[in-house]
């Protein structure tokens, strides 16, 4: 009698302690915002529109847009360092394909571990892969923001509408008590 061999190579895998989120500022007023776009169709516009709403309603400060060169992989450490140095909070997106949705979640976790609050926006068609990536990153249950699929084919007006829809949740994820600034 011999044993059936395990084909996963997983028997000795170490599991870390889960994710402790970065410390939140009380509100977003004056906070500098980094946008990490993945090059997918409409991603840049979506993030810029979200930033526009954050500026208008929550009074955020300077906004810096950065692009991830390889959408399917997590952001390189230099980019995470750079964005963490120049921004108080980051918004990441838009997860709109098999690999880039998972990678966006990995990015969010990377920034949190780096001490920078992050909000990840992902199409709702990719929840399963996003949740699985959170598990892989030892951050089960990691909270991200979803928007209805698809994103790529939307008109600029539709993208603006979507940004409006998610902005409050993005603000809520980025700050402890993000409240609408008095106009």
């Amino acid at each position: 009698m011999s044993a059936i061999m395990d084909p996963t190579g997983q028997s000795s895998r170490q599991v870390a302690d889960g994710l402790a989120l970065a410390e939140r500022r009380p509100g977003l007023s004056g906070a500098t915002v980094g946008l990490l776009e993945n090059g997918k169709q409409n991603a840049r516009l979506f993030l810029e529109e979200v930033a526009g709403v954050l500026r208008e309603r929550y009074g955020v400060g300077d906004v810096t847009l950065r692009r991830k060169e390889i959408f399917s992989a997590p952001a390189p450490p230099e980019l995470v360092d750079q964005m963490s140095a120049e921004s108080d909070v980051v918004v990441i997106g838009v997860g709109d394909c098999g690999s880039c949705s998972a990678a966006a979640i990995a990015d969010g976790v990377l920034f949190e571990r780096h001490g920078t609050p992050a909000a990840v926006i992902c199409s709702d068609a990719f929840k399963a892969t996003a949740d699985a990536m959170a598990q892989v990153q030892d951050a089960p249950g990691y909270h991200y923001i979803t928007t209805a699929h698809p994103v790529a084919g939307l008109s600029p007006e539709q993208v603006r509408g979507r940004a409006e829809q998610v902005a409050a949740e993005v603000a809520g994820v980025l700050a402890a008590a993000a409240s609408r600034q008095a106009a």
């Binding site: 169709q41 399917s72 997590p74 990995a106 892969t129 990536m133």
Partner: protein, 373 residues
């Protein structure tokens, strides 16, 4: 008499035990849906004896998934796929070859496209291991052709955890995703073998792999004019459905009849590529009609519907950017003019990987198994 039948009974495998072991693998979610062959230490050691690589050597690591595959894990999966130990060097070379593909290194395996590896084998190993190169290369029925690609699929699933509906986000995929593997029909090809074209020494055992998205036949057997046949291929290759980027890559698995007709008409493999590069494409109006006339700046140039006409409607857009985007292989039976166009997912590395064999131990294992062939 009684002793003899007892011995015969003893030698016969127990189907209930086999079934139980197979169900054990299903229970652990280690299969691609079909039954796998449960792997024991003993059989895995025979796979490991077929390669010079050490069992704990890491073949590949996917950092973003926190997973890796060692030579031993590959051996377990190859055994489970139904490979014989002597196929294992091909599995290892095929893995190395597919991972030269930029898309495979990135997120290709997680892609909504659900690409399939196309595995082409060259050299004497084809005949030694009875790898099908002729009739029915896409149609199944041959153990190495069926089990070598399946081994890659199981490695991806089990070792890297890329499982359908989770990290594998394939929208529809393609039929036979893990079943596309054959030898080139070098004996009936008028041209040099693919592995030789890609720089390996002639008669070297080599494997070439690219990721593909679909396969479409071209049936043309009633003309003597090679150029008419080429026009027929150009029409199939030129459809707009595949145009997601500025340009595309399409290969052809020529049946011997088409390849020989083209060669007799004076076409080398490179001539065929050049002819196709010149003639494959569509007028801009066809792209505009399909909402693909816009081309993004930078990167691969993602296509989308553009608001204004970008170029004149009657201007001809060529789709194939260069010879490296038109892989050509010869395989199948020499009994009809039926060839296959395939679509490369991304860009093929345009390389072949030499298959590293360990002749003596493998031969001994083969002999020990009673010379099945």
């Amino acid at each position: 008499m009684a002793a003899e039948s007892d011995a015969a009974r003893e030698a016969e495998p127990d189907p209930d035990l086999a079934r139980e072991a197979i169900e054990y693998c299903y229970d652990h979610d280690w299969t691609d849906g079909l039954p796998v062959v449960p792997a024991s230490r003993e059989i895995v050691d025979r796979f490991l004896a077929a390669t010079d690589r050490s069992a704990d050597q890491v073949l590949w690591r996917m950092d973003h998934l926190g997973r890796e595959c060692t030579v031993q894990t590959a051996a377990i999966n190859a055994a489970m796929a139904g490979c014989r130990p002597e196929y294992f060097p091909i599995v290892l070379a095929a893995w190395d070859a597919v991972m030269r593909d930029r898309a495979a290194k990135g997120g290709g395996w997680q892609s909504t496209s659900g690409p399939a590896p196309l595995i082409v084998i060259n050299g004497p190993i084809r005949n030694e291991l009875a790898i099908n190169c002729t009739g029915g290369i896409f149609a199944g029925g041959f153990r190495p052709n069926a089990t070598i690609p399946r081994a890659l699929g199981l490695m991806l699933r089990n070792a890297f955890g890329v499982v359908p509906h989770v990290f594998d986000q394939t929208t529809q995929g393609i039929p036979g995703r893990w079943a596309i593997c054959f030898g080139e029909n070098e004996e009936e090809s008028p041209w040099e073998p693919l592995a030789t074209e890609m720089g390996l020494e002639p008669d070297t055992d080599g494997v070439s792999v690219t990721l593909t998205r679909t396969y479409e036949f071209v049936d043309n057997r009633h003309t003597q004019d090679p150029e008419q046949v080429l026009w027929d291929f150009a029409d199939t290759i030129s459809r707009t459905g595949v145009m997601i980027f500025r340009s595309q890559s399409a290969g052809i698995v020529f049946c011997p009849e088409h390849a020989q007709m083209l060669a007799a008409g004076g076409y080398s493999k490179q001539d065929v590529k050049d002819w196709l590069i010149e003639h494959v494409g569509r007028p801009e109006s066809a792209l505009r009609r399909a909402g693909k006339d816009g081309v993004a700046q930078g990167g691969a140039g993602v296509r989308s519907a553009s608001e204004a006409e970008r170029v004149p409607a009657d201007e001809f857009s060529r789709f194939l950017p260069g010879r490296e985007s038109v892989p050509i292989i010869v395989a199948g039976a020499r009994n009809a003019g039926i060839s296959m166009v395939f679509r490369v997912f991304g860009e093929w590395s345009n390389t072949s990987v030499a298959i590293e064999r360990r002749p003596s131990p493998v031969a001994a294992v083969g002999a020990g198994q009673g010379g099945e062939g």
